[in-house]
Symmetry: C2
Subunit: 140 residues, 2 copies
């Protein structure tokens, strides 16, 4: 089940010197303080990062993510995402839930419609984690 709930990017063991421009859970993506290419990941760190990566390592979810991110206002309801994907509504809803639990998007229910929005620094934090040499000018 996907009932693993919010076990993806939130329960960081030690959010030491994080928090600069990555707001909320975005910086807590298990990334942030885990450059991946600087020091060997521990089993726990690897598992948390893998959880977030698993969330986006699915074609359907990647397309959902890109659709939401490509939105100008950043808002997209399920009905708008179902058709271009060619998947059923429950399936899309399931994928969106996984992305929400991974901390990549956020749900905003307005009336009958549910609008999904990208979490500001989420993808940036994830990308920074995968970047070999972040931005430190002392790397090379």
């Amino acid at each position: 089940m996907a009932t693993t709930s919010a076990s993806a990017g939130l329960p960081i063991p030690a959010p030491s010197e994080c928090a600069d421009d990555t707001p909320g859970l975005a910086g807590a993506i298990s990334a942030c303080c885990t450059p991946l290419a600087r020091t060997p990941l521990s089993a726990d760190e690897a598992e948390q990062l893998a959880a977030v990566l698993k969330a986006i390592a699915v074609p359907a979810r990647l397309r959902l993510l890109s659709m939401i991110y490509a939105r100008d206002g950043g808002e997209a309801c399920v009905c708008e995402l179902t058709e271009p994907l060619g998947l059923t509504q429950p399936t899309v809803s399931h994928h969106l839930k996984v992305l929400v639990e991974a901390g990549l998007i956020s749900r905003d229910k307005r009336g009958v419609w549910a609008y999904y929005r990208p979490v500001p620094g989420a993808m940036a934090a994830l990308a920074a984690t995968l970047t070999p040499a972040p931005a430190t000018a002392d790397a090379a």
Copy 2:
């Protein structure tokens, strides 16, 4: 099976204006010209990017990757990677093969030992693909 061979990051449909500093298959990681957050991914693009992400969306492979990247010379043989992971040698060999097919690392067999090295721009290209706004300072 992992017999999908080199179907991961190589067969890009249209490598239009790529190639700047991402050498070889690194830039061809299906990433490069696919910012993910700018325009909705096509089914084909999503599938290729997902293939690369799947390769690293596994704790064991993330740790292998980080171990190899953390190496100074960047060379690491299988025997060096097996013990700290707690996995059997065939399993490690399998994971390494997946990473090689994804274009993230490269194999260099010297005599009896097989040394694995990170592909220079691979992770950077992947990270760039996931970055919402590459370098535009209009984000926050």
